[in-house]
């Protein structure tokens, strides 16, 4: 059980390519931390730096306050599940799991009991005599997991372990991994590019972009208080809808003016934008915060373009100012493509972002 600290950690691959840039991060004991970001943002690099497979260009890595930046991987007390599983094809499942234990000078009986216990935990106890090429992808994944669990590491690293599984198994494994974490309480850094995976599993999410941390926070934080346009657009399925609007002062009122609608702000939001000096901004609204209403108090009206039924919900896509806007509504009354919809926004769910920097305005 341990905490992990990254201080000013950088990895530069070449003059122009940074894997990770000046990263500061601290992972608490027993925490399940998820690194989330699009492909190529430096998640794997971060994990490999922690594991010691990649040499840091600058900065330090500390486990329990001990600097391990220059320690070889085998002495770091970490274990890792690779995206490709990386189970050794010339060893049986048993030998794969026992590999690390044999270097620890444990007795045969001890090794045997640990292997049996971990194989049990990930439900592959009936497969230990097989070779990896006699296993399915999901089973290999479990072998990789068992191998990593068996050493009882201080830090548990996982690099997109679920991305090669089929959709159904992926969801099952999410739950199972969380359950295993409940049981082992190992400090975990979990990498994924799948925001829904991150949302459903993380204690805290670290969102990365281009080798830099953009936001750190609980799943609710990153969802409801996205720190900038990138996060708001990355988190949520379908993602946040963005509009570029002009701010117009009409007497004491503030109105957001868009070619298709004019939105008069309530007092709370008015005070938030009162001192904002620029004449336009980006505002965002999540699909579930656009509501279908009656004709008389509508903000804008538009015909539905595409309707995707999702069981009790439906995702409706429509075109506003040549941009696709998506909204989610309950299936109480089913909408069909071509239906005219009267829409309004939930005032308390509006997100404002600076038009140039994309940073969030106000902290509500």
């Amino acid at each position: 059980m341990a905490d992990l600290k990254l201080e000013n950690l950088s990895k530069r691959f070449s003059r122009k390519v940074w894997g990770v840039k000046k990263m500061d991060l601290s992972v608490k004991d027993k925490e399940f931390l998820v690194l989330l970001g699009p492909s190529g943002c430096g998640k794997t690099t971060t994990l490999r730096l922690i594991a010691g497979l990649e040499e840091a260009t600058t900065g330090n890595i500390l486990i329990d306050g001990v600097d391990i930046t220059d320690t070889p991987p085998r002495k770091r007390d970490i274990s890792m599940v690779f995206q490709s599983y990386a189970v050794w094809p010339h060893m049986t499942v048993y030998d794969n799991i026992a590999f690390a234990l044999r270097f620890k000078h444990l007795s045969k009986a001890e090794i045997d009991s640990i292997v049996t216990e971990t194989a049990d935990m990930v439900k592959i106890d009936n497969l230990v005599k097989r070779y990896p090429d006699q296993l399915s992808g999901g089973q290999r994944q479990r072998v990789a997991l068992a191998r990593a669990l068996a050493v009882k590491p201080k830090i548990f690293l996982m690099d997109e372990p679920l991305s090669n599984l089929d959709a159904k198994l992926r969801v099952v494994m999410r739950t199972e991994l969380r359950a295993i974490h409940q049981q082992t309480k190992a400090t975990t850094v979990f990498v994924t590019h799948d925001q829904s995976e991150a949302m459903s599993m993380a204690d805290r999410i670290v969102i990365m972009k281009d080798g830099v941390i953009v936001q750190i926070g609980s799943p609710d934080d990153v969802y409801f208080k996205s720190t900038n346009v990138f996060v708001a657009g990355f988190i949520g399925m379908p993602p946040t809808n963005f509009f570029t609007v002009e701010i117009i002062h009409e007497g004491t009122d503030i109105v957001l003016k868009h070619p298709f609608f004019e939105l008069k702000l309530d007092n709370e939001r008015k005070s938030m934008l009162y001192d904002y000096s620029k004449r336009s901004l980006t505002f965002g609204i999540r699909p579930e915060d656009i509501t279908i209403t009656s004709e008389k108090n509508n903000l804008l009206k538009e015909r539905a373009l595409v309707v995707e039924p999702q069981g009790s919900l439906q995702i409706i896509a429509l075109k506003i100012d040549d941009k696709i806007v998506k909204l989610v509504s309950a299936r109480e009354h089913t909408v069909f493509p071509g239906d005219m919809l009267f829409l309004t926004f939930k005032q308390n769910k509006l997100h404002f972002f600076d038009i140039d920097t994309g940073e969030r305005i106000g902290d509500l």
Partner: protein, 354 residues
């Protein structure tokens, strides 16, 4: 029902044709080898007096001895023509014994001959059968060519050293090519192949001078160095592609789970690369074991076995059965090596998949 029968017939016809084709190809490949093996077990008589050449060497020979004006007339049974051929008319019994051995690879003891001569006093002819000494050609070859056995040992030594050098250096090179990026990598990679463009005989002359300067001329170790140069290139290419096919993550996982970089290579990469390394060993072995063009130039008093066999084949008019025995002796270690290494090479195509 009829259609099914028809389909079955077509299928049978197709497989039969395929088998005939495969068998035909196998025959073409195997026939020279078959003749080499059988001829090496035949005696001079079988080789030169029985025509067409028998398909199988015989285990025993039949003789007939008669009284003649000179003394005794020895005839040998020709199993192709089903007749006795008169071979020798002499009264020198020592010569008869010698002749039987040389001509038929059978041992006629003096006691046996005396017995037969005794019998001849009452009969006009005596027929007798002698067991053939099956491997006599081989012992004879080594006895006639005094330098064959030392040359054989030298060849084994050379081959082993060649394998060790080309596998260790070539393997390391292949690993470097597959795992690291460095300047001029592609240039180097093509370079090692470029070396092979030059005929071995041509490069042997400068090689002789270099070895002479190093004091390694006419020594097996020097020869092994030269052979290694050729096989290192190929080894680099084969092992590089083998190592490339082994994901780096497998090594990295080993590093995380308790071992060093070298340990990861030893525990993970090496076992997985074994089939490829075995194939390389095979190439290196054959390249060294069967080579004589360079060996002729690079050795003088200490030739390798192929050189000895080559010289013998060239000089052995009317001794084809001994020459084939020499040729077989050249082939046998290669075959043994092949049998030994076979299971590793097979793993490359079946078994463990990376």
């Amino acid at each position: 029902m009829k259609k099914e029968l028809q389909r079955n017939l077509v299928r049978t016809a197709r497989t039969t044709t395929l088998y005939i084709l495969v068998a035909g190809v196998a025959m073409v490949i195997l026939f020279p080898i078959y003749f080499l093996v059988t001829m090496s077990l035949m005696s001079d008589f079988e080789m030169y007096n029985e025509w067409p050449l028998p398909m199988l060497p015989s285990f025993s020979m039949s003789f007939k001895l008669q009284n003649s004006q000179k003394g005794y007339l020895l005839s040998i049974y020709n199993k192709v023509d089903n007749t006795y051929l008169d071979m020798l008319d002499t009264n020198d019994t020592g010569y008869i014994i010698n002749f039987v051995k040389r001509k038929t690879n059978c041992t006629l003891t003096r006691e046996k001959l005396n017995e037969i001569i005794e019998e001849l006093k009452n009969n006009s002819k005596v027929e007798f059968k002698l067991r053939k000494n099956f491997l006599l050609n081989y012992t004879l070859f080594f006895r006639l060519k005094k330098d064959a056995w030392p040359a054989f040992l030298r060849s084994i030594y050379t081959a082993v050293v060649t394998i060790l050098i080309s596998l260790s250096i070539g393997g390391m090179g292949g690993y470097a090519f597959s795992r690291y990026f460095f300047k001029g990598k592609n240039f180097l990679k093509l370079g090692v192949l470029f070396v092979r463009m030059f005929p071995a005989v041509a490069t042997a002359i400068p090689a002789a001078i270099i070895l002479g300067n190093m004091g390694l001329y006419d020594k097996p170790i020097g020869l092994a160095f030269i052979y290694s140069i050729g096989s290192i290139g190929l080894t680099i290419w084969i092992t590089a592609s083998i190592f490339l096919s082994i994901p780096v993550e497998l090594e990295e996982a080993a590093q995380i789970f308790g071992t060093s970089k070298a340990g990861a290579f030893w525990h993970v990469t090496l076992p997985l690369a074994l089939p490829g390394l075995a194939a390389c060993a095979m190439y290196a072995f054959i390249g060294s074991w069967n080579e004589y063009a360079q060996a002729i130039i690079l050795t003088q008093f200490n030739p390798t076995f192929p050189v000895v066999v080559f010289e013998y084949v060239l000089g052995a008019t009317g001794m084809a059965h001994l020459a084939t025995a020499g040729g077989m002796t050249l082939a046998i270690p290669a075959v043994i090596f092949y049998l030994f290494i076979r299971r590793y090479i097979l793993r490359m195509w079946g078994g463990v998949r990376v």
